[in-house]
Amino acid sequence: MKVAIAASGATLDSQASPVFGRCSHIIVVDIVDGDFKDVKAIPNPSTTEGGGAGIKTARIVGNENAQALISGSVGPNAFEVLTQLEIKTYQMVQGTVEENLTLMSQGKLDELHPTAPRGRGLGVGGRGGRR
């Protein structure tokens, strides 16, 4: 099964990322009988997006034909995209990418549900300015 994971670095011993849209890398792995094959680390270009970073990152996951995603959280817009693409999302546990992939291959990760209300992502281009 092809699995994508939001990561804080480019290698299997990097920490899994608690955020999705602005994670540093998406690591894609083909899990075959508990082995990790075709490991690919994709730098995430959305880290500086003003808005819609999650949507853009979900596109990367979709373009890699991943069947599942592991992340700490997924915003509502990204969640909508992942649902449309029929990609299931799983809640990461604190630890490395490898540890999470191992748990995933053992079926020990929980499914993830969307968090914040729509249209209120972590956008760095905040349009409010209220204090």
Binding site: G51, G52, R59, P117, R127, G128, G129, R130, R131
Partner: protein
């Protein structure tokens, strides 16, 4: 005469002073149009206890995909600055409606004309007249406000539509008061374009001072005559605001003290009346005899 009530910092009393000033001006037999341009949380209608009547929907373009014409090229997704169109190779693109700001670039970019102009409701314009007729002559005071749909980010369109609606009826009024959002961003600028006077409401705190300086800078660029109102003037350090007034050469025309009576009226849902706001109203009417410009 068009007056913007602004100030930079949130919570300084812009809406309190806007509503009170509107009530005072209306009590002086002026026809007053109060425009609440803080579309993310308009609350003048709560302070004035008005009724609430929708007068116009605010809509924006929403692209709608005709799959029969779509070539799955991905140009629409590529051009979208809001990342509102998701394209995955060999699939039909789809639109994340909440993210779309209605710019229409995707419709122009689509070479096969597969995207059609649909509509998305993003907000509405309301009007209200005070229900408590004993306090406010509803003949003389009309409130207009814009409200954005919850979760929608395209607030500028609602602010502009609200301003436009107000402009169309402004000639029937002696005074148009525009209560802006906090900050110095586009929506505050849109609310203040073309006003004759801006009242910068601040408070004597370091943050009040900081944001006052920002809004005064903005108003200077916009070449709008500006006066400062210090709310909660007897708490904090008034020297902070005096310094700004002196350095920027913008007069402090009124100070409103921090009084229990004001809070009481506010929490009862009554417009705050205070002698200093009456004085402010008088100063404005004295300056513009007859009101109409």
């Amino acid at each position: 005469m068009k007056i913007a009530i602004t100030g930079g910092k949130g919570g300084t009393g812009k809406s309190t002073i806007s509503t009170s000033l509107a009530v005072e001006l209306a009590a002086g037999e002026n026809k007053v149009l109060l425009v609440d341009a803080d579309v993310e949380c308009p609350d003048d209608h709560i302070i004035l206890s008005t009724n609430r009547k929708k007068v116009q929907d605010v809509c924006t373009i929403l692209p709608i995909l005709n799959q029969n014409k779509c070539l799955k090229c991905g140009d629409c997704s590529e051009i979208c600055k809001e990342n509102a169109i998701v394209f995955i190779k060999d699939r039909y693109p789809f639109i994340v409606t909440g993210q779309c700001n209605g710019c229409g670039a995707c419709i122009l970019a689509c070479s096969s004309k597969a995207l059609e102009k649909g509509q998305q409701e993003i907000g509405a314009i309301y009007q209200g007249k005070s229900k408590k007729s004993n306090q406010i002559s509803s003949e003389n005071l009309l409130l207009i406000w814009g409200e954005i749909e919850i979760g929608c980010e395209a607030t500028a369109l609602v602010v502009n539509a609200t301003r436009e609606y107000a402009e169309n009826i402004a000639s029937d009024y002696d005074y148009v008061l525009i209560d802006t959002a906090a900050g110095t961003h586009c929506n505050v600028i849109s609310a203040m374009i073309g006003v004759d006077l801006a009242l910068a409401v601040t408070e004597p705190t370091p943050l009040g001072k900081h944001d006052l300086e920002l809004i005064l800078q903005l108003l200077q660029l916009m070449e709008v005559e500006t006066q400062i109102i210090v709310n909660k003037s007897d708490i904090g350090d008034l020297n902070l605001i005096d310094d700004v007034s002196r350095n920027k050469n913008v007069p402090i025309i009124q100070k409103i003290p921090y009084e229990r009576e004001i809070l009481k009226k506010h929490s009862r849902g009554q417009p705050v009346t205070h002698n200093n706001i009456k004085k402010l109203s008088n100063a404005i009417t004295a300056k513009t005899v007859g009101g109409r410009h």
